[in-house]
Every structure is written in structure tokens, then in C-alpha cells.
Subunit: 368 residues, 4 copies
């Protein structure tokens, strides 16, 4: 199973390279009857666009999406939805230098080790532009989930040393600053920190947090397709992610059971609820009906303009300075990628769950 | 795709409940010609056995494995290997009380939410005993990997506040103490900490670390089946895991690119190497030929004998005290489970990788 | 993807060899809440038992099935169902002769070509006993389908030159004769034909037909997972099948469109029906709500006691006479195997179909 | 698993409708280093083009393919290959009439039954144009197989009553006549027969035969992924296929074992061969190194201009005459589709087979 296909009931197949003809994705298994337009998808793509602040690459990329199949008279037909974003300017820049050596922190060396050669133009398949396919597909999943009452709140939790704490949280702020932080003051501090990084020809890492509201209890398949396992795999498939945690995450390793266990109680309406949410909304790999909360750690942008040591193909250890302008931090543009991957995962498992019980199957086929 | 099947080329299908007839696994895709005996597998199972120290449940479970198919004249035949561990003592204990309420921190509530009812005896399918299937299959994967020069070093990194640091590391110690820690002194401190937990009717979390040596460069499939993504999904499918990180992990989110990038250089024998390993042996989702290093955070054992609040099926919020004896920490017994899941993942992707290049395919079919 | 796992939503994983410890299957994805006992499964297994007539091998094999997991208090739990049939008498007969040469019409040569060696005892994994796993799993699928109103009528259509025609059809007869033919007279003629085959140290082929009633319209997934494509693959995976056809099958290749098209009309109750069923109940790969009708051609039993030419491992072309007693025809015992494979396929696709439309998804999650 | 994705190691994901923007396919898992150009693919697409004779639709469709990703400097990179054929003339013809009723023999009714509505323009996703994606992907598989010495001979075996017999076979003729028949005289008779069909406002069925040379022994995975099972499923997924058989096929059901078994012998060069090939090159689901031979039966084109009875959405049973010009037979244009599906199946299983033995794995990783 080659690696560019994800999901089981809602299956996405992505393609494309940074400097090729374009990037696209085929979504197979989107149920029929969902109202879907290019605008729905473009809204997601625009959130990952570069050039929105001085901390993202100023190259103007329109990244306009086209729906090529699977939608008829404004609705999905149940057959594959092909989405494509064609590259406007495939500049035939001179990449011969990059072709000759392996950039530290990038996939240049490992692609060559695996395949014997690589498309070295702008990182080829391992470029961040690959995420366009994920985001376009994720927008469709999110549209489906929206009709089911599932909502995402995804934002920058920290950039370098500047982190958001619970008290500062202001959801409305997220879309108000270029760093997608839920706190204006922190966003300002982070901006200052990134300025310093750039001055130092350096880059910064950061953390993205995602809260998913409205997922009903019962989603996730034991044993290997647990909801948290599938989220972990999906989020870790995003380039530059080095850590993933759910609920209290690594802090749980330092806690006692009496602190970490979430007490159940009955709400006034008779539904089961939890007094705390250390678990992050998942117990035994299955959603418990409360907010799902997870975080992903992103490493600093590997492309920095400071001098670095590396090797070239002539057998020489050399010093390189990577030219061009690069985002000093990946996190803000990755926020929507994280959300897209979460949406694809939740949607897939919600469709999967529909046949968990015989009574639901009987209902479906009798009511039909 | 129901959740009890994992892998693509090396595919495992597990079954069984805590207090049912037994636990087993079918391995499909193990290549023919691998020498394999029950002893190979039993050695792994024995590492997860309870009753080896006062910190694990004293129930004596022999957990003797039987190879039921797929091995002929001491070698694997290429057809499915069925492994089973039958329960010796299916005590018909009285579980009616547990059946009536949802234990905090367990999957009782979510299984009921999903399936409408559950096998409540000892946790049923969501019990830690489910990992027997994983470990048995992992032992086969590890045997295969051993013939390819891949070796695992897996151990307890921390228990509660007691953590191993780099200086203390003594690999030989790992199998010398019941907590599988690579430092005798830390193991002693952790033991003391666990004694305190038990006195307080409480439990502790901890961290497992795994170092994988000898994986060649080139393993892992971009985009969604990256080696780190697949490891993340596999490890996170183990019950009680709440966090996963590779290389510097979450620390990378606080680092600068100039620190985090690993410089390449040529070794005297002409092979490419890295001066540091912040990446944890994986670049762009593909192994780079250096040690793969990852950590998993385990939450504290949810079964504690202190009083806890929860709900029962009569619509009442109640206080419960979970009887029986339970491990005050999951981590030591989880060490081999983590190793097993890593072995299954690496083996699967090493088989997958064999068709990455046409020249390898030509070689294979011409030399045949 | 090794070959012993089938299905997507209802997934079966089979294991075992003819003369190993036993044969088994793990069913993952069976919905929770289905009443299931060993008797349900045994009834299917008994239909494939040898020794029921003089045309099947007289070896007494009890083939008693055990449910090892996945059922609690008489109902499926939604987690894997492990079924096993252990071999009673693993006679350590002398197979050294068979080990030395390749039986014509068997998989001996091809298994060696693929795996380098083989379990030669009674055919090992390629023995007809492998179908025990299929039939046991198929019984579970059939039980589920029964609750949905789907029923199977499967029988011997022809043995050698003795074929059933439409006029002779008497469903009640099928279980009344050892050859599972729906016509007593034809069964008698076929029995005589088989006696002659045995006298001539020869064997006979035949055809199995299956009619599936009660499958609602809409089952099957375009493009590659069409209902007929999935049935074709499932039935052709049974050893000895050499042909498969649906509805008019090969006769359609000789027909004109005006004959072959089935006219639609409205029944009095307002439902859509067809005047004829040349299509065999499937249009465009999706069930149309009418009877699904297909046939499978089985080759003659390859084990015959007449002298045959073959090769041994010493590089010699030799003449062999295969000893032991063998069924002179595969078909009667294959009837239930065909039904089992059809049941697994239909059940899998009926579960798959539940998420084809957004309105069904909305219903499911709102009504929950 | 929705239905538009096929294969495991070589995975294709198709999209597109008859009158939408276009038709395409993403191929994931094509090994790196294969020389590939658009010309390679176009050559296959041209074989399914309409308008090449009076028996195929005169609409001029250029069907020019574009490689959108996965090829760099003339070679495959190992990452997804996106191929697309855009429709030149999306005529907004008036399909409102067709939208209102269900054409006999088509998927109109079943798509509506499944999805609640359908793209009715020219059959939408169930149109024969869907096969463009299969053929484009098949061309890539065939190119890969060609480097491994695998060759295909695919042709029209019969049209209506006009069939090719062994004596008439002239491979050179296949590309010399518009019907792709290996006999000029038969092609002439078939042409006359089709003329008659058209005069009668009727259509004809036919049979395609495929011979695959050069597949080494050992390809195919027992139990469910047998080579014949996978071929059966792949070929039966082509619209209008109603029957499939391998080797002697249905004739084997009427044969005796002594006739049907193929005797093995040693050739002078010491390799194992068979005196006959009743098996069609596959034993126990695994290739035996001889020619693979199979046939597919196609039903007559369902679109005929004669009057037919059907139902409309107003609850009325009506008479319709389907306008436009339609091929009187599907078979000649389906020849390349059959070959494409066979190529995809063989290539997938040849990649799969590479990890069947430990010694091959050791070789691969040691020689690397």
C-alpha cells in the first residue's frame, strides 16, 4: 500500500509536487446529497495561503481549486470528487545546486535513499505544497461534519517560547491575527520573536491545538483503529510534526490516577457527562461525547539562511546557505492542515461507525 | 474496516477478551522460510507477564502460546500463522456489580455507547490482556527483523516523577529490575514511589522509550504512510497511551532551526551520517539510517482502590471503590507491547519498500 | 496484502492447513447484537462434511466448531469472532512420496515456485479443508443476512453431462439427495455417472448455481467494487473454480440487445420491477432488487487414481497413481462454500452501502 | 471502502463522468525509475477511441492524456502519477428526457436506488467513458510489465454468432481490422452481422480473449487473492461483462479429470513445463509459468434505437426509443479495457510477490 491514500469509508488519494503541474486529490466515498461548491473548499485553502503576513513566504500563489467531478447540480453524487489546484507559475528556476546536495532537516537524502533519485524542484513531493490536497479534501469532510453538528476550533498554541494559557483564550481572536493565536497579546509577542528569528537567519517551532466539539459518543474502532490512534497517525503524517498528544498528553505520565481519571455524572437532562476532561474526549479509543482535544508539536522550519554543514553527491562535506525566502515558522499555515486531517479522520470513523450495531442496520434497511 | 486488523504486507488480525476462552492473533504475510518456534514467541509474552514483581498483578497467568498454523518443519510457510493463548482459569467471578456502572478512565461507557452492550468481565475486549495478541505477533516480526539486523532497545523512561537521564543509562540493567529501567538507582526510587502510590490507593503514569537500531535508510512511504505516522498510529493504539513523540518531540516546538537541524557528513567509509539526531532517525517520513528514537506517554492505571464518583445504569451518580488488585503502573508491562507494535510497523514497511524502485524489481525477477 | 483476508466492513481472516492443528477464521466487523450460537455455524459446516454419501471421502471428520471470542450472553459484541475447527486425527501418515513430486492439477508446483517449499501433507494450505474457515464465517454472514430478509438457494446445477433444466426444478429436493440437486431424477443419473467415473479411476466437473433473494436495490459500489465484480472475485477464490457468470452470462455474448435488455414496469404496489431477469439482478454493478443469479464452473477433482505423468524433484518425468480415496466430484461439497462466499460478499456490501447518502447519515446520528 | 480504488501495491484511483469536466486516474505505488511519457499512455487510449469504424460512435473525442505528476526528467519518481483526459466538448445537450426515465439494461435505476439521484448526462459515472481512467492506468502497468518480459495478446474472440477458432488465428490481423479479430474473414463476417444488427435497430454481444505471456511461476496470493480471483474481480468490474472463465473455463465442468489435468514434464533446459494448458496458466491460484488465458463475455450494448418498455419517475410504464448513435457492439473497444485491467492485476500481484520469501528479503536488504 503506497502512502498517498488515506481512509477507509471516506478515502482520499492525493498527488502532485511543489513545482509540477499542480496538486490534487480524489475523494472517494463522500456520501451523495451534500451541497458542495468550490467556495466551500477555497475557504479552507485560503487559510493555508502564503503571503498573508510577513512571516509567510511572499510568493503569490492563488491556489484556486477546481471541482473536476463528483458534484452535479450543486450536490455530491456519491462518486469520486476530483479536486485540483494548478500551479500558476512553474518557474524553471535553477535548482541544479539544490539537486547536488542534501538540505539538513529535509527529505532530500531519504527520498534519494528510497527511490534512487528525486524531483528536487522545491522539495517535489515532500514540499509543504503537498498539503493543498489534504486541505482541499479536509474542507469536504468538514462540510459533511458541519451537517452533523461537529465543529473545529484549531489554533496556534505556541510559537517558540510564546505560549497561550487557558486564561488568555479568546476564540474570536484566532482569525484576527496572522499567527492564528487566540490571544492578541501573545500574537504580538510571537510576532516579535519571529522577527528576531529572521534577523538571526533562524526559524522557530511551535504547537497547534485542536478542539473538536459535537462528536457523539461511540466513534472509533477498537483495537487498532481507535479514534486517538487514527488521529495520531493522520496528524503525524503532516511534515514537520514531531509530537502528538491527546487530553493531558505527556502530563498524564506524571499524574496519579486519582487526578487523571475523569468522574462521570448525570446532567439534568439525563445524559452522561464528565466533571473534567483529562482524557481529551476519548476513552478506550472511542469518543465519550465530550470535547476532543489534541496538540501537535511542529519542528522549526528546516530551511534557514544561516550557514549549515551537509554533504553533496560528490562525496564532499560542504557548507551551504539556503537562499530564497522561507517562512520562519510552519505553525500558522499548518493550523488548517491539522484541522483538515482531523476532519478527514473524524468523518471516516463516523461513517465507519454506522454499522456497529445490528439494530441500526435493521432500521436502515427496513426504513428504506 | 473494523479495527482489529493492522498492517498491509504483514497483516495481523487479533481476537479475544480478558475473561473469554483466550486471546489470539493471525499473522498473514509473514514471508516463507523464517525459522520460528513457540519459544521465540513465548520469550516476548513472558516479558508482559504479570506477577513478576509486587507492582504487577499477582494472578498467575501462564499465557502459554500455541502455534496453530503456518509453520512446517520449523519454518514459516508463507501462509497465515495462527497464535493462541488460552485462558487457564475463566473464573466465573461475580461481575454483576461492575456491569451496572461505568468505571472512570475505562472504556466501559464508550463501549456501551458504541455497541449497546459490552462484555463486562474484566474489561472484555478493552482489557490489557488484549495486548497478548499484539505481543505474540510482534515477536514474529521481531524475529524477522533480527535476521535483517534490526534490534530494539525498549525500556521505562520514567515512572511518575522518577525519570532516566542520558548519563544514567545502562542497557544491561533493563532486564535486571522489575520495572525495566536502564538504571538501578532510578528503579529503586521508582519502586519506592509506587509503594507510596499503593499506600495512597492511587496509581502512577510513566513514559516508555524505544530505540531501534539497524533500520536502513529508505523505509516509510510518503505521504500518509510515513514511518513516523505509522509508528504514531501503532503506538497510540495501545490502551492508556496519551502522547507520542519522535526524536526531540515536543522539545522541537521550542527549538530554533539552527539547533534542530541535524548536519550531514560523510563517514570515513563513505556513508552518509548525521552529527546529531534531533530528528529521531526519520526525515520526511522516511528512515535516514540512524537510530529511530521515540517515546510514548502512558496515563496512570485507571483502576484505583480510592473512592471515585461515577454513574450507574439506573441513572444514579454513585461513589465506587474498585476492588481486586491492580498494577499501580502500566508502564513496565507495556514496554514489550511498545516494542511489539514498533516491530510490526517496521517489518510491514520494510516489506512494503521492496518494490519502491524498478531496478530492484528487475533484479528480483531476473535473478529468480 | 497477503491473500487470506477478505472484505472491508465485514472482514474475515482465515488460517490453517489440511493436516495441521486445525482450521479457523477471525471475523472482524460483525455488528453487535446478533444472536449467534455454535449450532448456527455447525449447520453450515455439516453441509460441507465428507462421508455423507459414497461420492465423498469416507474419512470421518467431525469438524466441530468452537466460538472462541466475540460472543457474550448469546450475542455478538461487535468485536472479533474467532472460530476454530481442530483436527481430530492428525495422522502422521507417510507423505514423503507426495513430497517428492508435483501432482497434476494441484497447487504443489506453484506453491513450491512461490514459497520455496510447502506443507505437503494433504495439500497443506491449498487443500479443500481450507474452505472450513470460509464456511464458518459465511454462516455468520448468512445469519446476519437472514435478519435482513436475504435468503440463499444454492445447488448443484450439473455434474458432468447431467444438468438441471428449469422445468425440473424442485427446491425441496436439494437437501434430499447427497448431490444437492433440485431434481431427484437428475440426481440419480448423476450418481450413476459418478459411479462410472470411479470405475474408470476418473473424476467429473460440474456447475453450482446460486439464487439470492431479498437483496434490496442499491447494493454494490461502482467502479471496482461492483456487486458482480466482488461476487466474481469471491467465488473465483474457491479452489477448482474455472468459470463464473451472472444472469445469462456467456449466453449474453450471443444475444441481441432487444432480447437481453430487461424491461422495467411498475407493479401494482408502485414498486419498480423487471419483466425478465437476463441481467441476473445486477445493473451497472448495483443490485436492482430482483433475484441475483449466478453460476460457478468447477473443474473435475484433480486427484484421480488413473496413472498420470508428472515430474519429481530429482529432475525426472515420472508416472504416478495417486492413492487414497478422493471425491469423484467437488461440486456437492462446494455448494455450501459458494453460498458462504456469496453471503460474505453481500453482507459486506450491505454494510458498506449504509453511508451512501447524507440523509441516511443524518438520520442515524440524529436518531441515536 | 468506496469502489473507485483498486489494487494494493499498485493502486489506482479513478474519477470522472461522461459529460463532466473529464476523466482521470491517480496511480499510487508505481516504482521509481520507469521511463514514461504521454505517448506510452496515448497509444493505449487510442485503442479505445470511438470513431475508428462505422461500428463505433462517430463522435470525435480526442481523449488526449496529460501526465500531471509523478514523472520527472522522463522517469517515474515513485510518487503518485496523476493522469487526466479533459472533455473537449461538454455539450449542454438536453438530457431532461433521459433524466425522467430509466433506460433498460443501464444503471440509471440502480444509481437512483443507491444514491437518491444521479448525473444523468450520458450515463454520468456509469458511462463507458469511465474506462478511460482504467486504460490510462493500465498503460502504465503494461509499460512496467513490458520491462519484466510480460506481454499481452488481447482480441475479439466472437461477435454474436461469429467466433474465432484456433485454426484461424493470425495475431498480426488483430490490429488490421476495426473489430480487433485475429482473422480477416471472421472480421468480415462479424462486420456484416453488425450491419444487420444496426438495420434492425439492435445490438450484439461478444467475447474478448486475453493471453498473457511471460508471467513467471509464483504470482498470486492464496486464499482470497488468488491470481484468477483477482483477474475475475478486475475483469468483472468492467461494465457489461456477464461472464468470465480461465483456461477451459465452463468446459472444464463437463470434462473428466483425466482430460482436464495438465501433465508436467521437464523441458530439455531442465525447466518444468506442461503438455497441455487446460488450467489456463494458473494452479491453486498461482501462476505456473505458462500462458495465462482467459475470456470475458460482454452483453449486447443496452442502448438500442428499437422501442423498449420502461418506467418513468411519474409512476408510469412507458415506451422509449433511445436516440443518438451508439456502438452496436461493445467488444472491440473493450479489448483494450480488458488488457488494461489484466495488466493492473498482474503488475499489482508481481509487486506483492516480492516479499513471499525470506531469502529474497535478505538479498534485497543486503545488496542495497
Amino acid at each position: 500500500m503506497p502512502g498517498s491514500i488515506l481512509g477507509n469509508k471516506l478515502r482520499v488519494s492525493t498527488w502532485g509536487e511543489s513545482h509540477g503541474m499542480g496538486i490534487g486529490v480524489v475523494i472517494d466515498g463522500c456520501p451523495a446529497g451534500l451541497a458542495l461548491t468550490e467556495t466551500d473548499i477555497q475557504a479552507y485553502l485560503d487559510r493555508r495561503k502564503p503571503g498573508q503576513s510577513k512571516f509567510s513566504t511572499p510568493r503569490r500563489e492563488d491556489d484556486a481549486v477546481t471541482i473536476q467531478s463528483g458534484v452535479f447540480e450543486g450536490k455530491t453524487t456519491g462518486t469520486p470528487i476530483s479536486l485540483a489546484v494548478y500551479n500558476k507559475n512553474q518557474r524553471s528556476a535553477d535548482y541544479s545546486e539544490i539537486a547536488s546536495y542534501y538540505r539538513p532537516g529535509h527529505a532530500d537524502y531519504t527520498f534519494d535513499a528510497k527511490y534512487g533519485f528525486r524531483d528536487y524542484r522545491g522539495g517535489g513531493r515532500s514540499s509543504g505544497r503537498e498539503t493543498i490536497g489534504r486541505v482541499a479534501a479536509g474542507a469536504v469532510a468538514a462540510k459533511l461534519l458541519q451537517t452533523l453538528g461537529v465543529r473545529f476550533l484549531t489554533y496556534t498554541k505556541s510559537i517558540g517560547p510564546v505560549a497561550i494559557s487557558g486564561e488568555q483564550f479568546d476564540a474570536a481572536q484566532i482569525s484576527q491575527n496572522a499567527l492564528y493565536m487566540p490571544d492578541a497579546k501573545a500574537a504580538g509577542q510571537a510576532a516579535q520573536y519571529l522577527e528576531d528569528c529572521m534577523k538571526n537567519r533562524d526559524s522557530s517551532g511551535g504547537v497547534v491545538e485542536c478542539i473538536i466539539k459535537g462528536v457523539p459518543a461511540g466513534i472509533g474502532e477498537p483495537v487498532f483503529d481507535k479514534l486517538d490512534a487514527r488521529l495520531a497517525g493522520a496528524i503525524f503524517s503532516i511534515g514537520a510534526v514531531k509530537g502528538f498528544e491527546i487530553g493531558d498528553g505527556f502530563r498524564a505520565a506524571y499524574a496519579n490516577g486519582s487526578e487523571n481519571n475523569d468522574a462521570f455524572y448525570y446532567k439534568e437532562d439525563g445524559t452522561v457527562a464528565k466533571k473534567t476532561n483529562h482524557a481529551g474526549g476519548i476513552l478506550g479509543g472511542i469518543s465519550d461525547g465530550t470535547d476532543i482535544v489534541f496538540r501537535a508539536a511542529f519542528k522549526p522550519t528546516p530551511s534557514i539562511s544561516a550557514a549549515q554543514e551537509t554533504v553533496n553527491k560528490n562525496g564532499e562535506t560542504i557548507s551551504v546557505q539556503i537562499g530564497g525566502r522561507h517562512d520562519p515558522v510552519i505553525v500558522p499555515r499548518a493550523v488548517v492542515v491539522v484541522e483538515a486531517m482531523a476532519a478527514l479522520t473524524i468523518a471516516d470513523l463516523m461513517l465507519e461507525n454506522m454499522s456497529a450495531r445490528t439494530d441500526a442496520i435493521w432500521d436502515f434497511y427496513k426504513n428504506k
